[in-house]
């Protein structure tokens, strides 16, 4: 059958995925929803229906480690939409996955190399320093 007479190719409804959908809750534990490509071995976040590295559809959902190392960070003092300052950082998770996350904690308490842990509050997810919770 030619492509012109087969079922038509349809778009991906990725706009229905909200930031809160990137985390799922399992027995009281939160986890980040990533995906793993069995064709090229890449693990990535957020989950997608095909692999952004090799374009294979052979991808399956995977729960990512919920703690990692703070690669770098900044406190943002200007925003039209958010309360300032807010803190952002890149977290390197085991398995070579980097993600940008909001950081919760005291201004000035972060250092490059800190161990950071996933945490949630309602629909929100963010990272805070491991052992930083009192």
């Amino acid at each position: 059958m030619h492509i012109g007479e087969a079922d038509p190719v349809l778009p991906i409804d990725d706009m229905t995925v909200k930031v809160s959908d990137h985390v799922s809750h399992n027995n009281g534990k939160s986890q980040l929803n990533g995906a793993h490509c069995s064709a090229c071995g890449a693990t990535f976040f957020p989950a997608r229906s095909f692999c952004p590295k090799c374009t294979s559809y052979e991808v399956s959902p995977v729960a990512l480690p919920s703690s990692g190392e703070l690669y770098t960070y900044s406190s943002v003092h200007i925003s039209a939409t958010r309360e300032t300052p807010y803190h952002l950082g890149y977290i390197d998770l085991p398995g070579d996955v980097r993600l940008l996350a909001e950081l919760k904690g005291e201004l000035g308490s972060f250092s490059v190399g800190d161990q950071m842990e996933l945490s949630t509050s309602g629909d929100q997810w963010f990272f805070e320093k491991s052992g930083g919770k009192s």
Binding site: V19, F44, H77, A80, L88, Y90, D96
Partner: protein
């Protein structure tokens, strides 16, 4: 293939012009570029217009009132690389013989957004997480301070140098000098970057006339040759990325040097994408102006300040001259033209023969930047 030459160049003084339309911003630059190149609108065989926020038919809205019609007008978006990408498209059209004379416009009007950070595409996951351009650069700066023998004073001295150069450039948005203390005491934008370390919000337009070698040599007007014109896009990383080694700029620079047949030591000046102070320190290395790890030493040496042998951002760069996104790549080429044709006035670099211009375009996750455009211009 023929060579492409820039035979005329002009821009408006960058600044805040809320009362000007896109056509109102660009028309004076276009008319002055015609005069500079000694051409009439009827000589123009194609128009390439780079912009990011102009909306539909930006180029046509500008040139319909400057005597140009009928010929192809192509609008190019590549974020902050839009203007430089327009030069690339025009240069290729000339080199392949499609036209012998082309007009390039770079333009944007950021006052339409009323200030604040550049609006990014909300479809992007990092933008949804709160990413803004100052934060991205600030996180690079944090890594530099962590990995290198560098201080916030080093970051600030990039802005001090830029503002010194800007004080000598009547076309710059900022014409006053500053010092390290004032830079560090300006209000925080994204730690460790303060306001004076960030390019300002503003409006601007710049225009070039490009010609084939045959056309250019037949005229009396001064010209510079386009020795290299290279565009790269970013390469996706889902995991670790060294934020101090932007592969997009490194590879683009390597290709540009190869195309021009020169090396970094041959350059007399570079106009680079110093959207924030940290960028200049990262790009010293990425553009191979110094070995890895040596960028802070290169800055401290004074070689990149006017009077040095490798002047970086003699125009004041994005930090002092201003950064109306799509205009910047063309405005950098205007500075190169003025320098190589000895029209740069108080900031003239003596006997400049080779100039590099470099702009990136960013704001999407997974890439260091979306676009990088590098040109090398030669005085022949």
């Amino acid at each position: 293939m023929t060579q492409a030459y820039v035979t005329g160049a002009a821009m408006i003084k960058m600044g805040k012009y809320p009362d000007s339309s896109y056509a109102g911003l660009a028309s004076p630059a276009v008319l002055e570029a015609f005069r500079s190149a000694n051409v009439t609108p009827k000589d123009i065989g194609a128009v390439i217009c780079g912009h990011a926020f102009g909306g539909m038919l930006t180029g046509q809205r500008i040139v319909k009132n400057t005597g140009i019609g009928g010929v192809p007008v192509i609008n190019v978006d590549n974020a902050c690389s839009g203007g430089a990408s327009a030069i690339h498209v025009a240069a290729k059209m000339i080199q392949t013989g499609q036209v012998d004379t082309a007009l390039v416009i770079g333009i944007d009007k950021l006052t339409q957004f009323g200030g604040g950070t550049l609006p990014l595409v909300e479809e992007d996951i990092e933008v949804q997480q709160g990413m803004v351009m100052p934060a991205l650069y600030a996180m690079r700066a944090r890594r530099l301070l962590h990995e290198r023998d560098a201080t916030v004073e080093d970051l600030a001295s990039v802005a001090v140098k830029a503002r010194f150069h800007g004080s000598l450039n009547p076309y710059a948005q900022f014409n006053s000098e500053t010092d390290i203390e004032a830079v560090l005491n300006s209000r925080p934008v994204a730690d460790p970057l303060t306001l004076f370390q960030c390019c300002p919000t503003g409006d601007g337009a710049a225009a070039l006339v490009l010609m084939s070698e045959e056309k250019a040599k037949a005229r009396a007007s001064t010209s510079m040759r386009i020795a290299a014109s290279v565009i790269h896009s970013g390469d996706l990383a889902v995991g670790f990325r060294d934020m101090l080694s932007p592969e997009i700029t490194e590879q683009c620079a390597d290709d540009a040097y190869e195309e021009a047949g020169i090396g970094p030591a041959d350059l007399d000046m570079v106009e680079m994408h110093d959207a924030f102070t940290i960028a200049e320190l990262v790009y010293y290395e990425a553009l191979r102006l110094c070995p890895k790890g040596e960028s802070v030493n290169l800055l401290r040496s004074g070689r990149t300040k006017l009077g040095g042998d490798l002047v970086v951002n003699p125009s004041g760069g994005l930090i002092a001259k201003g950064h109306p996104v799509g205009a910047s790549g063309v405005a950098q080429a205007v500075e190169a033209y003025w320098q190589l044709t000895e029209q740069a006035g108080k900031r003239q670099i003596e006997q400049a023969r080779f100039a590099m211009t470099h702009v990136t375009g960013g704001g999407i996750s997974g890439l260091d930047h979306g676009a990088c455009t590098i040109h090398i211009f030669a005085k022949d």
